[in-house]
Amino acid sequence: MAITSIKNLKEFSTANDRFEGAHLLCPGCAHSMIVRELMNCTDDNLVIATNTGCLEVSTAVYPYTSWDTSWIHIGFENAATAASGAEAMYKARKRKGTLKNPDAPVKFVAFGGDGSTYDIGFQWLSGAVERGHDFTYICLDNEVYANTGGQRSSSTPIGASSTTAPAGRVSYGKKENKKDMMAIMAANGAHYVAQVAPNKWKNMAQAFQKALATEGPCYINAISACTTEWKFDAKDTIHISDLATDSLVFPLYEIVGGHELNITYRPKNIIPVCDYLGAQGRFRHLFKPENEHVLVEWQKRVDANWERLQRREEARV
């Protein structure tokens, strides 16, 4: 059955899953929720490029693949490159008339973790967006190099303890702020940029469909709560994502055409940032008396960011 518009969850559940079980992601990993939903919200053929990271090593463990679609694995930095190469070849073959089935719709999607998006693959992603390939890049943002053992990335938020920026007697963890990838990609010329979270499934499905339908490069930042590195119980993935979106640590919004900002989810009850931080082991040390100033700063920064987004939405520039 074709899933053209998703009205409710019952209707959505008639989709035919194209992401198979028995992959080796941790129990309760949000990566697979996001990937499953992307593959369920479209019936088009997908060409997916995945760079090295949790998703790749867990879904293509020789001799198995969990993907019921064309799938390319490539090095840590080049998911955007692989997708743009495949897209360029598809266009060229279409022009020459050498495609077997030229009318079948094909969508190009690249998946990367935050390490490969914010740090290692940044240059390549920027290049692919600048060249204007018709593809969607989805960053599975778990704010740490989870696959290699929890090293800090430039997506790791301030105060989080990671193996290369550990909290202890002299340090409260990472001291630098998270990079604002959404603003960077919008400025880079991506036609559609959105931040999504798996707990808001409808919001996420709509963003995916919008991105796939948009011609030109699109960027989606998907929050992926990591049970192993954020240190919470496997069953709480959705609960932690709820806390993240309702405390506005991860506001859900989209930027269309580089300037038109829309907030796509406004929490009814905004909860304090401390509730979100306190639910995770990686922030536990912040609740010691000597680190109280970091918590105050956190709340201030989140409030200021929410204010900024609302102003930008009003201004429409």
């Binding site: 059955m1 209707e11 194209r18 028995a22 020789y62 959705i238």
Partner: protein, 151 residues
């Protein structure tokens, strides 16, 4: 349609991970392509899992059941078919057909417990039990409906 029809005669979960025969590092073909299906896969998005011809390279034929220490048990009598468990399951292990929740695919379920957390009914229609627990005993010991706490 029942869960028996869905699970009955397919290749799901036949192979224990790690038990498959592997070739050595110097025998692996370069640039290997792992085919998910044994036949034409152009219309895969219009076919249900039980109608697909999975190849031996699809992880669908493998099982991760040995990862579990606790398992979800499903109580059909309380379920309202909201499909929250279906959308949030990270392991494609909730089997839903024709807008109805049929049951759990224990070959691919890792026992994370997300489905139990997102279940909105009172009492919950999915609960976690120890892996060795008999499902019938589990259903017999299902908790009663909780009354709302008085304020």
């Amino acid at each position: 349609m029942s869960i028996g029809n869905v699970l009955g005669n397919d290749k799901r979960g036949r192979i224990e991970l790690g038990a498959e025969k592997k070739v050595g590092w110097d025998e692996v073909t370069h640039g290997v392509v792992l085919h998910s299906f044994e036949d034409d896969a152009t219309d895969v998005s219009s076919r249900k899992a039980e109608d697909r011809n999975y190849a031996q390279f699809s992880s669908y034929v493998a099982t991760v059941a040995s990862w579990r220490v606790i398992k979800p048990v499903y109580n059909r009598d309380i379920c309202i078919d909201c499909q929250n468990c279906w959308i949030y399951c990270p392991d494609t292990s909730i089997i839903s057909r024709d807008k109805q929740m049929l049951g759990i695919d224990y070959d691919h379920c890792k026992g994370c417990g997300v489905c139990v957390e997102v279940c909105p009914t009172n009492p919950k229609s999915l609960l976690m039990f120890a892996e060795a627990h008999n499902p019938e005993d589990a259903l017999a010991s299902w908790p009663e409906k909780k009354k709302k706490e008085e304020k």
